[in-house]
């Protein structure tokens, strides 16, 4: 079911463990701190406490408080200091506690980290990985549920990465930390503890039952800019990332549609070769994201597919997204692009 063709061959022989996404992220951070003394972790509550989602648990005890430490509640300061640390030669991995809180740090990301290499002609670089939980479905209300990825994909000089499984979270995070450009690493917090099929009123499934939770021990990386074909199919192509991969899988299986599901994994730079190959085969394309609709990353995907696969398309590209409202608390499942919204779009695409 999972294709991991880009993984080194030796990985197949590596011992594996079943991890949830938080454990996989913690493992990646641990490995990179061990391998590279320039890796430092900063953020609100990341030190002694280990982060509000426990992603940095145990790391301060292991690596000391000058390499993993709490910061003041100042996203501007967290990112700004990280830019300065990077200019010194460190490889900072700041955590922004929720993606919804990232905006005070936006100037430091957009005007500084993203453009430092360009404006200094390579004298200074910003090899920073900003980790941040994003997305809804946890009753977080409008300040703990947002998906602001499109704000970052719009910025020249930033890479944006979103994993959908523990296996990918570890390999992608290691690649992001090793990358010499600034990377926004959004972690879909709805699936920290288990994949989510979109049916919020049925019991959640743990990662342990999902093949994506089989995580090799030790170091491995998954190259940025490479999508993953989650499932091959002929009827239509689904382009998604993060939580929506699992929702799409469940809905399309339930509808009995032979869909090809592509987990983009990296939004910038995007793997259009994989996307084009698939859409040219299926002739139909469904774009799904949880973020608001207007000017969302789905608009970019839709335009790219239209530009590059127009003569293969049998139907207009469909976008399934969150609504253009703040994420409501009590009605969050009315906002969430769940099975009904996806199902309708699939029917339109297939002419049912």
């Amino acid at each position: 079911m999972m294709t991991q063709e880009e993984s080194p061959v030796s990985l197949a022989d590596a011992p594996t463990r079943r991890l949830n996404m938080i454990e996989a992220i913690n493992d990646a951070l641990d490995i990179m701190m061990e391998r590279d003394a320039n890796v430092v972790i900063t953020g609100e509550d990341v030190g002694y406490f280990g982060g509000v989602f426990r992603a940095t648990a145990g790391l301060q005890a292991k690596y000391g408080k000058t390499r993993v430490f709490d910061t003041p509640i100042s996203e501007c300061g967290i990112i700004g200091a990280a830019v300065g640390m990077a200019a010194y030669g460190l490889r900072p991995v700041p955590e922004i506690q929720f993606a919804d809180y990232i905006y005070p740090g936006l100037d430091q990301l957009v005007s500084e980290a993203a453009r430092l290499r360009y404006r200094s002609a390579g004298q200074f670089t910003a090899p920073i990985t900003v980790r941040s939980p994003f997305g809804g479905g946890i009753f977080g209300g409008q300040t703990h549920s947002q998906s602001p990825e499109a704000l970052f994909t719009h910025v020249a000089g930033l890479k944006t990465v979103i994993p959908a499984t523990p296996h990918d979270a570890k390999g992608l995070l290691i690649a992001a930390i090793e990358d010499n450009d600034p990377v926004i690493f959004f972690e879909p917090k709805r699936i920290y503890n288990g994949p989510f099929d979109g049916y919020y009123d049925t019991p959640a499934s743990p990662w342990a039952k999902h093949p994506g939770s089989v995580v090799p021990e030790g170091y491995y990386s998954i190259p940025l800019g490479k999508a993953r074909v989650v499932k091959e199919g002929e009827a239509l192509t689904v382009l998604a990332y993060g939580t929506m991969i699992h929702v799409a899988e469940a809905v399309l299986a339930e509808k009995g549609v032979d869909a090809e599901i592509i987990d983009l994994r990296t939004l910038v730079p995007i793997d259009m070769a994989t996307v084009e190959k698939s859409v040219q085969k299926t002739g139909r394309c469904l774009v799904i994201h949880e973020a608001t609709r207007t000017s969302g990353f789905g608009a970019e995907l839709s335009a790219l597919v239209q530009e590059r696969c127009f003569y293969h398309l049998e139907a207009p590209v469909e976008r399934v997204t969150g609504f253009d409202t703040p994420y409501p608390h009590s009605l969050e499942w009315a906002y969430f692009p769940g099975p009904v919204r996806i199902g309708e779009a699939v029917d339109r695409l297939l002419g049912n």
Partner: protein, 432 residues
């Protein structure tokens, strides 16, 4: 029927109506200048605490004004850094060279050789005396008016002009607005243009230096207007929380383009006093007194290097020219302000000090002025061989798409091909 106002004014008994205060500078164009309310304490009267003192000991200095050079050109008081005459002459020459550079580059902009320029006239002592007080490998996170630091550190004038002209020799490949230098090998961080972003970055650099057990410290410069940015608060908080080895400078030159310092809060307190709320050491210094600037920055640098923490220094000075080539200061402030600035001109004051010491003369000054003008002229001619802005001698075209990322991703490769096609439409024979 008239609509009801959405937010009707509420009156309560005989309470007076609330009134908004919008600060207004004392002098506008055409006004006679009156500096009588400016408190300028005598030189030499300010105590100098030990560099390792508790931050609280510096608080009186936050509302005072550290001065060394008196009206007779003597260096007096405990802040006198007792520099030898040779160092003073080098400092004077660097200031004169910077002023000559500014004058020539300003004219070059007016002659159409570049798009933009910013002078530091009247503020030369701040950057240059600070550079003399720091170690050459201490990291500077500058704003756009510290060209004096590059000059002081011996960065080639030709390189500065190449950057200003965005020509084919520009080390920044013509990407940055003129004067937004970057010189990593001279410990000079890439200038942003977005204000105050360099402040938390300097603190981060200093934190990294401390994490690694280095001995280098960081320093940063912003204007008084930029203290209003949130980055200022973030930097001050991080610097004190982590006791970062950093010297944070506020260059209070009284004007932020056309907004006087009152718009940034100067009516209520000094900018150095911002340090008090954070528990940081603070010093307010006469920014036109090169010896006082040197002494204050050296004090703060020694303190930082001894792990005693950060210092905020307000350099009280005056921006003698416009903000940049894009504004005309006579349209918003009295021309007399600069002429009558009670703290004088930093170059004249250092010159007078050297003369008072018997180590300099007006003739030597005139000869030096001629020499630095020649030096700038020669550098300018040399740089012009590599082109001026808009005359085709820029960096190779393909470099436009480089350095967005370490490696060129497919979408930028496609866009580069498009850009090259566009050029060939305009110039069919064009090739790189």
């Amino acid at each position: 029927m008239a609509e009801e106002p959405r937010n009707p004014v509420r009156k309560r008994g005989n309470l007076p109506p609330l009134a908004l205060h919008v600060p207004e500078p004392k002098h506008r164009p055409g006004d006679a200048v009156d500096y009588s309310d400016l408190v300028i304490p005598p030189a030499g009267a300010q105590p100098r605490p030990d560099e390792s003192c508790a931050a609280e000991e510096t608080y009186p200095l936050c509302t005072d004004l550290v001065r060394v050079l008196d009206d007779e050109g003597r260096a007096v008081g405990p802040w006198d850094p007792r520099l030898d005459a040779e160092t003073l002459r080098r400092m004077l020459r660097t200031m004169a060279l910077t002023r000559a550079f500014d004058d020539r580059m300003y004219r070059a902009q007016r002659q159409g050789k570049t798009s933009f320029y910013m002078k530091c006239t009247g503020e030369e002592a701040v950057a240059i005396a600070a550079a003399f007080a720091l170690a050459d490998d201490d990291m500077v996170f500058p704003s756009y008016r510290q060209q004096g630091i590059l000059v002081a550190r011996g960065y080639p004038l030709v390189e500065m002009i190449n950057q200003i002209y965005s020509n084919r020799a520009d080390r920044l490949k013509g990407r940055q607005l003129p004067i937004m230098y970057s010189a990593k090998d001279y410990g000079f961080f890439s200038i942003s243009g977005n204000l105050t972003t360099q402040y938390p970055q300097a603190v981060g650099w200093a934190m990294a230096s401390a994490i690694k057990g280095d001995t280098r410290i960081a320093t940063s410069f912003i204007g008084e207007g930029s203290t209003a940015e949130g980055d200022f608060h973030a930097a001050m908080t991080f610097a004190t929380v982590y006791n970062a080895p950093v010297v944070l400078n506020v260059v209070n030159n009284q004007w932020a383009i056309s907004s006087f310092s009152g718009i940034a809060g100067a009516e209520r307190t000094t900018f150095a006093a911002r340090a008090i709320g954070y528990g940081m050491a603070g010093i307010r210094v006469d920014g036109n007194d090169a010896l006082a600037v040197f002494a204050a920055v050296r004090w703060a640098a020694d303190r930082a290097r001894a792990n005693k923490g950060p210092t905020l220094i307000e350099h009280f000075t005056y921006r003698a020219e416009g903000h940049s080539t894009s504004d005309d200061p006579s349209s918003y402030r009295s021309a007399q302000e600069s002429v009558e600035w009670p703290l004088g001109d930093p170059i004249a004051r250092l010159k007078n000090h050297l003369i008072a010491l018997g180590e300099w003369s007006e003739e030597q000054q005139a000869e030096m002025d001629r020499a630095v003008a020649e030096e700038v002229k020669a550098a300018s001619k040399e740089a012009e061989k590599s082109g001026i802005l808009g005359h085709g001698l820029h960096h190779p075209f393909k470099t436009m798409f480089e350095d967005v990322f370490e490696e060129l991703p497919w979408h930028l490769e496609e866009q580069a091909e498009q850009a090259i096609r566009e050029r060939r439409v305009k110039w069919p024979d064009w090739k790189e």
